[in-house]
């Protein structure tokens, strides 16, 4: 079936931007409505993808190809599979909801929503492009709107946060560019990711650069690029700052989607093109995951700023994902062909990617709600809010429980899958990282106690309850979290074929893994 739906999904926001350009600056309402329509249509289109998606195949669907720069073999290739589809839907959903989260923006509205839509284009493009050059262009296109959105509409330290974010991620991207070019010249001069997935494992096999295996060199270059985005310890220092300074809607996008781009890049590129190095790096990945879990949780525990606490909880959750990802080597012959463990680990990692997207989005929106009313986020500065804002407190309780991984919420299932998968191969690390769950519960519950329980702080006896617009942005996310927590099968079915393809790629390469 010939269709351009993926191109439409990417470029619909561009139409929105064009429309906004013609609206006079004063008509802020019109600008917001245009953005809502553009992101809404985009979200519906992603749901359309879901309805047409063939679950039985792990390959790419809805492929589009067009020539772009023939002399350098650069093509415009789009496609979606079980790994990218959940992310595409999540992107569609969060951008749509974030439009309403940004409804109160009143400073340079035209610029804000234009940049917001540009960010949307960049993120969708990364998830859907299958040409490495195109991937890189979209990857970089995200940086500029993010810089401005943090830097112009952010908190007091916004300028520093914005430039730090930009510098960190740019270091990662330029290293990635070098890796892309090295792959290009060693693997048959193509940027076509599908071709590279076929040729790279054999073309690079046994190639040595300065006494190191070429596969490892390229892996490390790419890994640093993606790890900065995730962020993996010790590259995480930009994240809390950017989160705290960013406006609420941008924090939602940042935690909900941007962090996942790093994981997505690792699975799409490192795992699929350099499967041999997965064997070499899985142990390190698990250890880094453990550090993220413990470090993130400890830092969260120490925070006085609620938003910073949520930001560090992201660092903590990314750790679980890394541990789940490392489980993929269980499927290899050396580990007794334990395909079930690999499926659980990798599936759990991707499931958690999605779940963290909904849960952290919810958390950031809720933090935004209280900030809007009290104009501060100091955990110690509240107290007893539950009596004043019962609905809000209830929803926060729900989000906190989802965040700490209580059974019945989707976060629990995915975290459990990550641990179950990794246990056969990395027993010690999994056992150690369960401390993280404990800490996880501690910081969320402790924060809840300090803010909502006890006697009501007199300063806040007139605080208004959460309003309808805010409820509208949170409830869909809460419903998804609960639904997938009770009945995760639809999601796991969606991704399983693609996960099996990735697991096979990694498992098969172990037959000639002797080169390492």
């Amino acid at each position: 079936m010939e269709t351009n739906i993926l191109s439409w999904i990417i470029w619909i926001p561009l139409l929105g931007m064009a429309a906004i350009a013609f609206v006079p600056r004063g008509k802020t309402k019109a600008i917001k409505i245009i953005t809502a329509v553009a992101t809404g249509v985009q979200f519906l289109a992603t749901l359309g993808l879901l309805s047409q998606f063939d679950l039985s195949t792990g390959g790419f669907q809805f492929m589009e190809r067009a020539t772009w720069i023939p002399s350098f073999n650069i093509t415009y290739i789009l496609g979606v599979d079980g790994l990218s589809l959940p992310m595409v839907i999540l992107t569609g959903l969060l951008f749509f909801l974030s439009t309403f989260v940004s409804w109160n923006i009143n400073r340079a509205v035209k610029g804000y929503f234009s940049l917001f839509l540009l960010l949307d284009i960049g993120i969708m493009g990364v998830f859907l492009s299958l040409d490495f050059f195109l991937f890189y262009v979209f990857w970089e296109v995200m940086l500029l709107p993010m810089f401005f959105l943090i830097g112009m509409w952010g908190g007091p330290q916004r300028e520093y946060a914005a430039i730090k974010f930009f510098l960190y991620t740019l270091v990662g991207s330029v290293l990635m560019l070098i890796a892309i070019l090295a792959l290009y010249f060693t693997c048959g001069r193509t940027f076509d990711m599908l071709l590279l997935m076929e040729t790279a494992p054999t073309a690079l096999n046994g190639v040595m650069w300065w006494g190191m295996s070429a596969i490892k060199v390229i892996w490390v270059l790419l890994f640093i690029g993606f790890a900065i985005k995730v962020p993996v310890f010790p590259f995480h220092t930009w994240l809390p700052l950017a989160h705290v300074e960013a406006p609420t809607a941008i924090s939602v996008i940042l935690a909900g989607i941007l962090l996942k781009l790093g994981i997505y890049g690792m699975l799409r590129i490192n795992y699929s093109m350099l499967p041999g190095a997965v064997w070499w790096f899985a142990g390190a990945l698990a250890v880094l995951g453990l550090i993220n879990v413990i470090w993130g949780a400890m830092c969260a525990l120490a925070q006085k700023d609620l938003k910073k606490l949520v930001a560090y909880s992201s660092v903590n959750h990314m750790g679980y994902i890394l541990i789940g990802m490392s489980a993929v080597i269980a499927a290899g012959a050396a580990n007794g062909n334990n395909v079930l463990a690999a499926q659980a680990g990798l599936g759990g990692a991707v499931f958690l990617m999605f779940n963290h997207g909904t849960i952290s989005a919810m958390l950031f929106i809720l933090v935004g709600v209280i900030y809007e009313r009290a104009h501060h986020r100091d955990i110690e500065g509240f107290g007893g809010l539950a009596t004043r804002m019962p609905i809000y407190s209830g929803i926060v309780a729900l989000a906190f429980f989802a965040g700490l991984g209580l059974p019945g919420f989707s976060g629990f299932i995915s975290e459990a899958m990550c641990f179950i998968g990794a246990f056969p191969v990395f027993k010690g690390i999994v056992i150690a990282s369960t401390i993280g769950i404990l800490l996880n519960a501690t910081y969320f519950l402790w924060a809840f106690q300090r803010i909502f329980l006890g006697t009501l702080n007199e300063k806040y006896k007139d605080l208004p309850e959460i309003n309808r617009m805010e409820l509208f942005t949170v409830i869909p996310l809460a419903v998804i979290t609960l639904f997938l927590g009770i009945y995760p099968k639809p999601f796991l079915d969606l991704i399983s074929s693609t996960m099996n393809v990735i697991i096979d790629t990694v498992a098969n390469v172990s037959s000639f893994a002797g080169v390492f």
Partner: protein, 497 residues
Amino acid sequence: MNNLQSLSYYWPEIILTVTVLVAILVDLFYSDKNSGKTALWVLGGLILTQIAIYVQDSEMTRTLFMGNLAFDPFASFFKTLTILSTVLVIIISQKTNELDGHRTGEYYSLMAIMVFGMFLMASAIDLIMIYLAIEIVSIVSFILAGYLKGDLRSNEAALKYVIYGAFSSGIMLFGMSIVFGLAGSTKYFVIQEAMWNLQGSAHFAFTLASIFILAGFGYKISAVPFHFWTPDVYEGAPTPITAYLSVAPKAVGFAVIIRFFNTVFGDGGAFIDPSISTFTNIPWPQILAVLSVITMTLGNLVALQQNSIKRMLAYSSIAHAGYMLMALPTLSSQGAYAIMLYLFMYIFMNLGAFFVVIYVKSQGGGESFDDFRGLGWKMPIVGIVMTVFMLSLTGIPPTAGFIGKFYIFASVIKVGPQLYWLAIVGAINSVISLYYYFRVVKVMFLEGEPSETIVVPSASVLAILFTFAIPTILFGIYWVPIANWVSQSLKLFIKVM
């Protein structure tokens, strides 16, 4: 080909010479010496020259004037770049207020003379010719840099420029005389043949002489350590001239270097054998790689500390020379290709950035970062366009600057793992450059508050802004025509052995 026959291939230069003479003559008859009407005559002459280049352009290559000049697509490419940047600079010169009260007639005719010198640089294949060409360009640049006679900084710029210029061309001439002593000729092709027969100890003399010659070339492209003139000259000269110096002479400087290295040290410019150092024992790739690393790193690190945007752009232009030099150690057609593409892209983004500086100054602002504070709120269009140029200079897609850098990195990585370190150093340098380019963006947008009154530039200013901004974005998205043009132009005159 003898001198008389050569003239029929020399129409562009002849038209250019006539243009210079006409411009000087008509200027005498204008009563208002500031009117800038001479500019129209020069523009007309340049366009005619370009037409002549276009008509003549062919796949055929030959030498002119008894083997002094080459006539090939490579030279035509750089002549076109020269004309393009000169035309753009003449246009932006109309919008500056720095030249008020100075006679502008000579200003434009001097520019045309400089174009002539740059034409010679692009096509010379003889050491004496190269020397003369570089001197023509330099002497005119000295005058233009010091054009603001009453301004102390402009005077200082001219004087510094003269001293450094004289010094480096002296060194270059010394190197040339050694080469002449070793090879018995000043012609590139004779020198190249002589290289094959050099005896052991002569290699050292040859290396030394080449480094001396490189000093002269490095001075033109402001490569470290021959860059000391750059910041002061760029700061003191009238801004349009600064913009001009950062683009046109630099481009032909690279033309000279590419031609010299690929002809004399290479296989005569045929780009068949990239491993030139094999028969000369001179570690050229290493020397050039180190030069490139030093140039870009120093340019970037010093640019970080500037408070004047004009001076920051001066150091950034040193860094850009460093990026382009990265492709030189590859000594491949890919490397030359990347440099040529980069130079083309560089014209738009760099002249554009300078034009914004000129415009802001003419609106009563200044050149320092403080003068740009809140500019994005007061003049959103100017701010957005400047952001595009800064993005492009940093090398972030989808802009022309990224494509230029992409080809440079590609040519380096293509050589193989032994040059990966160079690519990584270059990449880290682009990250450093982000900091100072985005400092401009930061002061324009992140600082300052929304203002009530929004200044929209006049239609002519908008037209000029978009002349620079649209290609900067467009060639970042679709650059096939440029890529094709460059690859067709990558054809040097080759001596039939």
